[in-house]
């Protein structure tokens, strides 16, 4: 094999460069995204429970919001009956942001982390943080 020294050295250098981002982060814990539920409204609740179980909201909140959007605008249904039988007004502003009044610390935190840009806020108004 000709020039084996150079080739092997090149392969080693290439391997190190290609895996550098991983090598640098060995041993470091993954940055954990913790959307904050520390708002006065939620803290005042006896049982901190969203309209549906946490796992469901984590996985399916976008489908839920999408369904809400169609129900209000296209079907005129404004009351949501959750799996626990409680009734809620279908309203992003009043029901969702009524408790999660910290959009920057709640919605934006995960959305920024996974680089999705929902365009809810180009029309819908974020009540409290909008003033600042």
């Amino acid at each position: 094999m000709y020039n084996s020294g150079k080739i092997i050295a090149g392969i080693v250098i290439f391997f190190i460069l290609a895996t550098l981002p991983f090598l640098l982060n060995i041993g470091k814990a993954n940055t954990k995204v913790e959307p904050s539920i520390n708002t006065p409204e939620i803290n005042a609740m006896a049982i901190k429970q969203c309209i549906e179980p946490r796992e469901f909201m984590r996985a399916k909140h976008m489908q839920l919001l999408h369904k809400w959007m169609d129900q209000v605008v296209r079907s005129g249904n404004r009351i949501y009956v959750s799996s626990s039988g409680k009734q809620y007004d279908i309203s992003l502003k009043d029901t969702c942001l009524g408790c999660h009044s910290n959009k920057k610390e709640f919605c934006d935190k995960c959305h920024n982390y996974i680089a999705v840009k929902p365009y809810c806020w180009r029309c819908h108004v974020e009540l409290k943080e909008d003033k600042s």
């Binding site: 399916k60 209000v72 079907s75 005129g76 404004r78 799996s83 279908i90 180009r122 029309c123 819908h124």
Partner: protein, 266 residues
């Protein structure tokens, strides 16, 4: 490289198993809709077979009377007030008799009071709306109660509806409307650049049992009610007084009736 029968069958069998497996994964993803959920309308909601308006402009005497209704609507719905006329956005506005009823305006001897009167113009919520027929995304659609509704989420801004509407009831957001909103009503969303908007007959107020904002602010000049109910106030007004509609010859069956003169003695 050759392959014998046994190898081929093994390969084919494995691919089939993998294919079936991934198909079940795909259907599993498709089922990810919402299991536990029901929706219902608000019990306070007002219902009708076909909502309609009767506009009696003889009850509007000054410009302030008009402006009060326009402001009521535009402030509630965050309609921007844009100076540039090409970018103007409006849900309800006033215009001359000549512009409102162009097909009847060439009569030189007609009642001059009527000719000089301004008329309230807004979406006619037609029974056979041209805008709904042309919308490629069903962003504008006809509700069961007769309201021609605009789903801003689904609008792609093609403006076919604006070309189709014979009444000019639709406005396009050529610029971001937010900087042009005077009194921001935080209870109602704004719109974004690139969507068409228009009067929605205050569907959000009907849903909680309230009359449209313009009717509420008009002191009786705009009456709102069910055109299919023979005992409703709008039907009584239409049967008692002489009313006209805008461009009826187009066959869109508009739901706004304008009371023309006559007053109380007709």
């Amino acid at each position: 490289m050759s392959i014998n029968r046994r190898q081929f069958l093994t390969l084919a069998g494995m691919s089939t198993i993998l294919g079936v497996g991934s198909a079940s994964v795909m259907t599993g993803i498709g089922k990810g809709s919402l299991e536990a959920s029901e929706v219902s309308p608000d019990p306070r909601a007002l219902n009708a077979g076909r909502w309609g308006f009767v506009v009696d402009v003889s009850k509007l005497r000054t410009d302030e009377d008009y402006q009060r209704c326009i402001d009521a609507c535009h402030n509630i719905h965050n309609v921007p007030s844009i100076r540039e006329p090409r970018h103007e956005v409006k849900w309800i506005w006033k215009d001359s008799y000549e512009h409102s009823f162009p097909n009847t305006s060439e009569d030189a001897y007609m009642n001059s009071e009527l000719r000089e009167k301004n008329f309230f113009l807004f979406c006619n919520h037609c029974a056979r709306p041209a805008c709904v027929r042309v919308c490629p995304t069903k962003a504008t659609f006809k509700r069961n109660d007769g309201i021609v509704m605009q789903d801003m989420h689904r609008c792609i801004g093609c403006r076919f509806c604006m070309a189709a509407c014979p009444y000019g009831a639709r406005s396009f957001n050529y610029v971001d409307p937010r900087p042009h909103i005077r009194d921001w009503n935080k209870a109602y969303p704004t719109r974004m650049i690139g969507v068409v908007e228009k009067c929605t007959a205050c569907y959000e107020r009907l849903a909680i049992g309230r009359q449209p904002a313009c009717a509420e602010a008009s002191n009786g000049a705009i009456v709102f009610g069910d055109l299919e109910d023979p005992n409703s106030e709008v039907r009584k007004l239409i049967s008692e007084k002489y009313t006209i509609r805008r461009k009826p010859e187009l066959g869109t069956q508009p739901s706004i009736y304008y009371v023309i003169g006559g007053g109380e003695h007709v």
